[in-house]
């Protein structure tokens, strides 16, 4: 069994180890218990890390709460975007889907093929710009590049593909019917 040493517990030890009487006047006036100081620093760092840990758990619960709320929302439903004839091959159109503030891009890549993706870059939500001639979507903020046909990231910092807007064409009208979020 270890025995506490009372005098060691309260001793002030200067950094140079010399006795208190040999220390400079300023240190004699304001003695610091260095071992206690180091101990308290580390203990408080443990406390800080524990509070950081609490913040991370709060973040996890925030995601879980958003996930729960998202599960309770009704699916967006179909929305007319444009007529087939409104876009030339290589042309693009910005529309809002599924919400009023969710900008998406419709691109006509051939006579019979249309694609649509969310316009927010998956890196930091800048608006991506279609470049049909190069077959890409380009994000000018951090040089992110996505494939025009699939929306998958090709270069730069984006961690995920662009969310794909599912399209249906009825009687020459183009409708958005759903959004597919995708993991890299």
């Amino acid at each position: 069994m270890a025995t506490p040493i009372p005098e060691r517990e309260t001793m002030s030890v200067p950094p140079d180890g010399r006795p208190h009487s040999e220390q400079p006047a300023w240190r004699q006036d304001f003695p610091i218990d260095w071992p206690q100081d180091q101990y308290v620093e580390r203990r408080d760092f443990v406390k800080f890390l524990t509070l950081t840990s609490l913040a991370f758990v709060a973040g996890q619960f925030w995601i879980a709460g958003k996930h729960w709320l998202r599960g309770r929302q009704a699916p967006p439903g179909a929305k007319r975007i444009a007529a087939v004839g409104d876009l030339v091959v290589g042309g693009s159109l910005v529309f809002n889907y599924p919400g009023e503030h969710d900008a998406s891009l419709l691109v006509r890549i051939s006579e019979s093929e249309f694609v649509a993706f969310g316009q927010k870059c998956t890196h930091l939500s800048c608006a991506v710009i279609p470049r049909p001639n190069e077959g890409i979507f380009h994000c000018p903020c951090h040089e992110g590049v996505f494939d025009l046909r699939t929306g998958r990231q090709l270069a730069g910092p984006p961690p995920r593909p662009l969310p794909r807007v599912v399209l249906e064409i009825h009687d020459g009208e183009i409708f958005a019917t759903a959004v597919e979020e995708r993991v890299a």
């Binding site: 270890a2 060691r8 101990y39 443990v46 890390l49 840990s53 991370f56 758990v57």
Partner: protein, 82 residues
């Protein structure tokens, strides 16, 4: 036969707090990784990791809080248990 509670001097508490610090630091880094991985998966439409990630992170917090409470206890009483 009862055993006397083990007591710690300040010099003995220093390696204890260092050990706890290393352990808590590893757990916090794990939580940071877990939070970013969960966020990335959830934004990508993969919901399967949300609740397991939350539970594991909460367990890490409980461990961290327990270690910190133990540290305060041995500081107040000088005793780390039987």
């Amino acid at each position: 036969m009862s055993q006397a509670p083990r007591t710690f001097t300040r010099d003995q508490r220093m390696p204890i707090v260092h050990g706890m610090l290393a352990f808590v630091l590893i757990l916090v880094v794990l939580q940071l990784w877990l939070l970013t991985a969960t966020m990335n998966a959830w934004l990508g439409g993969d919901d399967s990791i949300v609740w397991p990630g939350t539970l594991v992170s909460a367990a890490a917090l409980a461990l961290n809080g327990g270690l910190y409470a133990y540290l305060r206890r041995i500081e107040r009483t000088g005793r780390g248990g039987v």
